[in-house]
Structures are given as C-alpha cells and as structure tokens.
Amino acid sequence: MSAVRSQRTTPVKRRMHPIGVITTIVQALRQFLFLFVAALFSGDSLGSGAWLQLALLTVAVAYGVGRWWRLRYWFEDGAMRLSDGLIFHREVFLEASKVQAVDIRAGIIQRIFDVVRVQVKTGATGTQVDLTALSRVEAERIQRLLDPEGWAADPVQTGDYAPVGIDPTAAAPATPSPATRSRWAISSRELVALGATSGQLGVIGSGLAWLFSQAQERINTWLETNIEAFVGSSAAGTGEMVGPIVVAVIVLGILALTWILSIVGTTISWGDFSVGRKRDRLLVARGLLERREVSVQRDRIQAITVVEPLLHQPIGRCSVYVESIGHAEEKGASTCLHPFLRVADLPAFLDDVAPGFHAAPRLHQPPTRALLRFLVRPSFTVLAVAAAAFWLWSTPGLLVLLGLIPTWAIGWLSWRDIGAGVANDMVVVRSRRWTRRTAYLPRRRIQTADASANVFQRRRDLASFSVVAASGATGRTYEARDLDDAVPAALLAWAGRTAPPPEAPQGRAA
C-alpha cells in the first residue's frame, strides 16, 4: 500500500440524485405508514390527528434530507464503499468480485422523475446497497464498475479503477442496444394470451369468489330487488325461478372479471418486455408501472429451466427460467428470461440469450412396465377422497370417482413426457405432472446426482434419477422418476466423469 502512496488521490464521493430526498422520504413514510393511519383514526376531533400527522411529516422530511445528505458512495481498490445513516451509521465495503448482481429498476416515483433505483446484491444476505435515486448514466456506470469481467472486457469505460488521466465523470459511450432486445419482445396480443392462460387465474378467481361471498348478503338483496323490477315476475316463487340464473350470471361475471384482472395484471407486470445480452450479462427488463431490470452474470448461470404449464401446452408456449447463484428476484432464486416463448423458438432463443445451454438429446424414458405406476399411484388420493365423500353423502359422493379420468390422463402424459438424457456435456431432465418442466444443466454445474428406488420400484427394476443445481443460496432438484434402473446408474457414472455418456435409448422416441 505504501508503494503507491505518492499517487493517492481522493476518490470521488457521490450522493444520490437530488430526487433521492423524495425517495428516501417515501421509504421512511412507508415504514411509518401504520403510524399515519393510526394518527388518522386517533381522536374524535380532526385537530389532534392532523397535528400528529404534520409532526410526523416534518420528521420524515428532515429524515429524508439528512439521510440523503449523509449517504455517500465511492469506488476504491476495486470495491464499492458506502457511508450512510443518520442515527445508526453504516459503512459498507463491497468487493466487486463478490458482487453477484446489480439490478436497475424504476418504481412509480422513479419513473415520474426519470431516475432509477440500483440494488447491489451479494450472495450472502441479499441486498447490500440500495440507492433509490440515480441518473441512468450513473446507474450504468455503477453496473460496469462492479462487474469484474466487464472491467476486463473494456477497461476504458471503468474510470474509477484507473483514476489517473481518466475522467470518471465522463459519460460512458452508449453501448449499442443489442439486436436481441427487440427480437424477443412480447406483442400486446401475446400479453392478452399470457394473461388469459396465466397460472394466477385460480388465485385471482378464488380471491374474487371469497370477496363475493363476503358481500353476498348485500348483493343478493340488490339483485333480487333489481331483477324483480326488471323481470317483473310474480311475487310467488321468484327465489326458485331466478336462483339458478343469478348463480350462472354471478359465476360468469366472476370468470370474466378474473380474466380481465389477470390480463390487466399481466400487461402491467410484463409490458414493455425485453431480454438481451450485454457482454457477459443477461439483461431482462419488464413492467409498465414499475420497471424491473434484472441482470444476471452469465458465468453464474447454473441451469436453464423450461416450464410448460398445462394451459400453455396446447398453444405451444413455454416460459424460460434461469437459475443462478446468489441472485434472487422472484420465484425463489430463479429469474424469468421469457414468460411466453414459442416452444419452436426455444433453440434459437437459448442460442441467442444463453449460448451453450441448449441440447436436444433423446431422452431415456420410463419403460412400458412403469406405466401402471403412473396410473395407480395418483388414483389412491382420488379413491380416498371418494371414500370420504361416500361416507358423507352416500351415493352422490361417488361422483368424485370421475376425478379418476383427469388423474389417469395426467398419469399417462407424465409417463409419456418424463425422461432424462445427455448431450453436449449437459444433462437434460424432464419431469411433469400438470406442468412440464425441462431442466438443462451442464455437467460441471451438477452439485450432486442421485439415484433412488423404493420397494415398489425395485420390484419392477425401476429407479428415479435426480440432479441438484445450485440456485440462490440453496439448491434446486430436478427429477425424472421411474426410469429403467440401468439409466440412473449410467447417468450417475456419467455425472462422476468416470464413464462415457450412456448409449442413446433404444426405447420410445422422445
């Protein structure tokens, strides 16, 4: 350290964009929101509550300005440093090599004032640095500075690491937006289709149904008076006549509302979607009201998962997730690369966005003797429910047995789809129940590989194979069950690098 003392200069310490005062206040207000609400409802007179609110607001503003003034960050020795805090002082030291993701996003406030929010994450404990208001240029500069390989790729742009003779404040030359960005955009028609087939339909629908049941009394009386007025029916037996119609109308209404809400929600959260590659990073940006930008370092990608929900299978669409270590945006620790990709475009998409992660091996699949297991095992649940229903309602309860039909259908589809195979030094594992999931995992990313067989599987010489990839702070397991027991053994040997890849399957085609 003493050797370079002569060259020392003071690093440029920066504050956030002045808008940071507002965003800090909003953050603080969010923390005290319940106090505000309490103040609002406290006291019967307007006066005391309003005074309390004013006092709180003053405190919040003072806090925001002070925090903004105290928060300063700078770069030094290949690390980001940050000094922050009014009452509790915080000094952050983040080595660039330990940084796992720099996310740029923009909430409503940021969008109004044309600034962005930057979150720097390391593996250990999630977000370490959260700068709520920065200019976009500054945000991109931070992203570059904290990106060791980016530094190696173009040292000229990363000013702060070589302070001599380079003006760190100079705006970086705008990196040309990769052509891939627009190529995988989602059209508005696709957004509608995505919303209409979203997996959240059930959640929204049941939520609405619950809300409706809460308001049922009032709606019932309203409906009865109105419909009676409209239909002008006789007083006698109105309830029985109108009942089924009303129920049908209500059910249809809930369905329609569910769909509309889902489509609107999908459009808001996935609108203006783009995905692309910038040097060694994957960039995903989405969202109309709240802009989310996620970047994933490509050499931290552990696996790619292709998910095909039941509703997306007939229209040939899938969503693509990337598992990476030390980065969590949503869905645990996987990041969605595309929510609604044409399955036929998958190879091109992966070649474009995540090269080296596509392989199309013939899959080793469950043999014919395994089919019975796929049909029998899930039937037990249905039979148990049917027995309970029979006990409760006698014969009509047996209608539950109709549930066997979809159960068997799914069992057959699972048997048909499941498989595991090896190509391009990658293992591909496909599982399915309602949703079909295909995982692409390079051999050097395999954390552990398992072969397991229970008593019933052993009787039929079957075994399940699973691999574990690192994802976030933990692991993610991909399993293909009920394969011929020679297959998991061969795949295990392959994973351990002691054997050539197992022979291409002679059984059913994939």
Partner: protein, 206 residues
C-alpha cells in the same frame, strides 16, 4: 483505513478471486497465462477407497438409542391422538386403547429392533479420486454422487448421543446442499474429512 486515507493502486479484483468450485471460470478465460511453477513436487497421493465402506458398527447402538427417543415422542403423540379420538368419535375406549398400544409396540419394535441393523447393513460410502459416493436407505434406497470439485466445505460433527458412543458424522457441503455420513469412528471421520478436503482442493485447482 479511514475514508480519507486513500491510495490509488489500480489493483483490480482478479477474475480468479471468484471462489473456485462455486463458479468455474468462464470458458473464454481458458488459457490463463500463469506459468505453472517449474518442477513442482508431485503431491503425495491421497488414499482413496477401493471398495464401498461400511459405517462404524456402533452405529446400530447409536440408532437404537435414537429409536428409543423417537419412540417416546411418537408414543406421546399416539396417546394424544387416541384420547382425541375418544372424545370425538365417542367409541368405547377399550378398542382405542388397544389400537394405540398396538401401534406403540409396532412402532417401537420397528424403530428400535428392526430398522437400525438393516440401515447399517445398507449404508455404504466410497471416496473415489474425483467423487464421493453414498448409498443408503431402508424402504427407499438412494445413491448419491458428489463431484469433489463441487465440495465447498467438510465438517465433522458430533451430537450428545454420538459423543457417548465416540462417533462422528462427516458433513459435506456443496453450493446447493449438505450430505452427511453418520456414525464413523473419530479416526475414520478425521481421515475422511482431510481426504475429501484435500482432494476437493486439488480438483478445484486443476
């Protein structure tokens, strides 16, 4: 170092400072121009296992003690369940009590007498040149393979009952999960831990 005491060594975070084993270097960095130290003394070979290894035979007694403890807990739960059943179903208590006692006895016999020796007989591990192989189970037999390159950390741990028997577990951590080999003698455990750590280090350095 205070805030103002700044030096401008442009020392960069070396790419290689990414924890090895967790993240392999990107394929582009294929030929790092680091000259290998000339005439490096060949590393002494780490002994690996030729065959699948059993656990320490005292494991059976250890698991029996564990079985006694879990039997006590389960007996309590079964008794509570039977009592609840008595109040809910309003059937005669004799049948419920008989059923509960039968369940408790069956549970105890399985956990204390039957399962521990079978589990011991089925438990095997093998440290190989570049991987650790485990096979164990009772109803479900599971084989697990851990590439040593992926091993981040190896611990030996000992609980209170294990301490009484002088047994240790070796726990192998990867970035995704932890696998444990229970019930080894101290010598066996220490040896295994050192060997795994050393082999993992060498595998990563390659």
């Amino acid at each position: 170092m205070t805030d103002d005491d700044v030096q401008t060594d442009p020392g960069l975070p070396a790419v290689a400072s990414i924890e090895p084993g967790q993240i392999a270097p990107p394929p582009t960095a294929e030929a790092p121009p680091q000259p290998t130290p000339p005439a490096a003394a060949p590393l002494p070979p780490v002994p690996v296992d030729d065959h699948l290894q059993p656990l320490d035979p005292r494991a059976v007694r250890l698991w029996r003690v564990g079985g006694v403890i879990s039997t006590l807990i389960w007996s309590g739960l079964i008794a509570v369940g039977a009592a609840a059943g008595f109040f809910v179903l309003e059937t005669s208590w004799e049948y419920l009590a008989a059923g509960a006692v039968a369940l408790i006895i069956l549970n105890a016999v399985l956990r204390i007498a039957v399962i521990p020796p079978i589990r011991f007989r089925l438990w095997r591990y093998q440290l190989r040149e570049d991987q650790l192989f485990l096979r164990r189970g009772f109803l479900v037999i599971r084989s697990t393979l851990i590439p040593l390159v992926r091993v981040q950390n190896v611990d030996t741990v000992q609980g209170p009952i294990s301490r009484y028997f002088g047994l240790w577990s070796v726990v192998v951590f990867t970035a995704a999960n932890a696998q444990s080999i229970p019930a080894l003698s101290q010598r066996q455990a220490d040896h295994l831990r050192e060997s795994i750590a050393e082999l993992a280090r060498r595998a990563r350095d390659e």
